[in-house]
Symmetry: none
Subunit: 221 residues, 2 copies
């Protein structure tokens, strides 16, 4: 995750950077609101840690500006006893706030809470039907003519991915990147083998998994 740390005090930035990087995230820094807005416009961050009190452009104004362009989660940092309008903070879309002095554990917990809360947004648990093929993504079930198909993890992921991109041509490269992960450095043909196994498990409905010669595969009704 790419996290932008905005604070005018270098010490605080350094401390936050340490926490953030310890968790395996990438840290970026801005020294004031102006710089933060500029960086946010030019780059895609997953989260912004924003101090309230800063020169040039205060935290609230900076958040307001950033939210105009992109919907990035923001956690505000404020000194204890600092007076500010929390209602206003919500209105402009602040996701959470932490009061200084803060503990590393607390800050990381907040970061995780905000990003996970965001992640849990899409709750599509309907069951898709293609003739006698039923696909229940939420429950991880696939039925072939009413009988449960026992797929392996990769087969589930591959099928779900194909179905989510139904009707779209997918290269082996794209499938490997999106289903296997960006860090897969194996053979292209691995896809073929999994397609083979998936097809054999789908029985008659193997017809939905279409080969695109010279390209890859797609799911088509």
């Amino acid at each position: 995750m790419k996290i932008l740390i905005v604070d005018d005090e270098e010490m605080i930035r350094a401390v936050l950077r340490e926490y953030v990087e310890f968790e395996g995230n990438e840290a970026f820094e801005a020294a004031d609101g102006m710089e933060a807005v500029k960086l946010c416009r030019e780059n895609d961050y997953d989260l912004v840690l924003m101090d309230v009190m800063m020169p040039h452009l205060d935290g609230f104004s900076a958040v307001k500006e950033i939210k105009k362009a992109k919907d990035i989660p923001v956690i505000m940092l404020s000194a204890r006893g600092e007076e500010y309008d929390k209602l206003f903070a919500f209105e402009i879309g602040v996701d959470d706030y932490v009061t200084k002095p803060f503990s590393p554990k607390e800050v990381m917990a907040r970061i995780n809470a905000v990003t996970k809360r965001r992640a849990s947004k899409p709750t599509g648990n309907e069951i898709l039907k293609f003739e006698g093929l039923e696909i229940d993504m939420a429950g991880r079930n696939v039925y072939v003519d009413g009988e449960k198909a026992e797929l392996t993890p990769k087969e589930y992921e591959l099928l779900f991915y194909l179905v989510r991109n139904k009707g779209i041509a997918l290269t082996r490269e794209k499938l490997l990147y999106d289903v296997w992960g960006f860090d897969f450095y194996g053979d292209d043909r691995t896809v073929d083998t999994h397609i083979k196994m998936l097809r054999s498990n789908l029985k008659d409905y193997r017809k939905f998994v279409v080969t695109l010669r010279g390209l890859g595969y797609k799911f088509e009704e």
Copy 2:
């Protein structure tokens, strides 16, 4: 009725208290999530009015914590965008939801609605049955073929969470976040050990706790 008001802003607490007491109820206050959780554990309230954004422990996490111990009706107060908050709130068992700025009249209407809904429909008091496995969430009892199963706290929480999400695939990550809490920083495999112990206590009905290889677990009838 005893109503707990949780908000870090004294002004808002005062306003809410006035309206709550005007209707003949008894009002109690907490200034943050931590305090709210503590008070709920020690006392019996009929309803909780909970702000979302607060220091120490945010409203969502506080509700989650409170619901683990007692099934008290909760109305959330928030100024955030409605859409995903409502979904998330529903997931953790919030009864209703009011967006700031709110009119006291509106809040009182919601309070009355929630308590009436509760009174007429004793949800949570029901005992779920899956063959010879009986689960009484309100009473924190689990019976295996009529005999009481002695589960540890974590086993109860894990089982109840699995059952509440029956039929839905749950990753270890999600289980840790929702059952253990947002601040759990431990090993994934901790889940496995608790699943193991839960299964051994469920005897023959261990079959309902299904392993999803490469993903996690789910409860399935």
